[in-house]
Symmetry: C2
């Protein structure tokens, strides 16, 4: 896998976790995106709840590394780019809290170096001093009435943004229909439309409506094939060839 190095270079850092369940949920979200390096800064005790909520990600909890402080971690592991997360972005006078949305964050990271994503704490988030250590601060645009997200929810969204263009569904036959396949389908419909006694100006409209919905539907090759077969049978039942 060409992106294995990228994955290996990502460190997920949970600062002063207060509840084992949240460590577990974070590990599960990491596992969903094949991230492995979990760093715990001065965490609560790792109770059973952490392993239970991690589900298939309990190996990540097992292999997590503990440090007493964020500074100690950053001294020990040579991180090239530190991304802070906050649910409390700041305006123009709090330079370290000026937030990027997750999509822009992805554009600004260099995929060749070691990257750390900092999350924490459940209660108070990252401190201003911790955000000062970060190269950028990312925040998720939520509703102003309650923008502070659960840590594993925020992490899942950020991981999703990182990998949404990299990961594909592991199933077959999802190719969108080709132009040829789509035109074949439209051609069959056209033959039917011309034989249901529509006034001429409505023939064009009907074909256009069908073309529009096919165009907007991300139709797969198999779906196009199925519909083309159906139209052919309709055509025959109508007495056409």
């Amino acid at each position: 896998m060409e992106y294995q190095t990228f994955l290996d270079n990502i460190y997920v850092v949970f600062v002063e976790a207060e509840t084992p369940g949240n460590i577990g949920f974070l590990a599960r979200a990491m596992k969903n995106f094949a991230l492995q390096n979990l760093i715990l800064i001065n965490p609560c005790k790792l109770a059973n709840e952490a392993y239970f909520q991690a589900s298939h990600g309990r190996d990540i909890v097992n292999n997590s590394l503990k440090f007493d402080s964020l500074g100690e971690f950053l001294e020990e592991v040579p991180i090239d780019f530190v991304v802070g997360t906050t649910g409390m972005p700041g305006g123009s006078y709090r330079l370290s809290r000026i937030p990027l949305k997750p999509e822009k964050m992805v554009q600004s990271i260099n995929s060749k170096g070691k990257i750390a994503f900092l999350f924490g704490r459940e209660g108070n988030g990252l401190s201003n001093e911790e955000l000062e250590l970060c190269d950028i601060t990312v925040s998720i645009p939520a509703h102003p009435s309650y923008p502070v997200m659960n840590i594993s929810h925020a992490a899942a969204i950020i991981f999703y943004e990182l990998f949404k263009n990299l990961y594909e569904f592991d199933v077959e036959g999802l190719e969108e229909a080709s132009l040829v396949e789509k035109n074949y389908l439209l051609g069959e419909m056209d033959k039917i439309v011309k034989n249901v006694d529509l006034p001429p100006h409505k023939i064009k409209t009907a074909n256009r409506a069908f073309k529009n919905i096919i165009g907007r539907s991300f139709i797969t090759a198999r779906e196009a094939h199925t519909l083309t077969g159906l139209l052919r049978r309709i055509k025959i039942k109508m007495g056409q060839r």
Copy 2:
């Protein structure tokens, strides 16, 4: 708010929730995006855990509506568009499991009607019969080794995609610098660059490098202002005007 009707029209449907904590986490994610309508189909008992994990979203748990079956809900509430979610997308022969990625899902929904998002169950997901009732099926592209996400994680990602272009950070002074402000900054740097005894061909390169990083940095007006002030002071210290 112009999008209040859109919010009011969204129903989040949790099918056969098995653990109260997950109901709570789902409610919290809904609260972050100002969603209010939680529907529980044949759920487990609502223990304290549900209210605790909901955090500021406990009103959503309180106001949730229960139905015995998905069919009963769909008969009672006139939903215009049903979105199923699955961590187990299917290939071309399982038409109801052909997945859209969240971004494409957003393109295909009509923001004027009532929309239901179906999540569930923790163990086995939605059944084929339930997915048959859906207009589209959405799935999150995760790593093939473990693509099944926690329900509230999947929900958070889908809500995020729905609102990421709608919600803005509730802080002031985040406007990107205007062209004029950026050019003023580049101009100050240019005066400095021309006075540090660089060979002529390196003057252009230095200016270009600075322009590149400014261009890629989504610099805010305030940051541009701060840097321009700094450069002006440097210039003065160097004996320039």
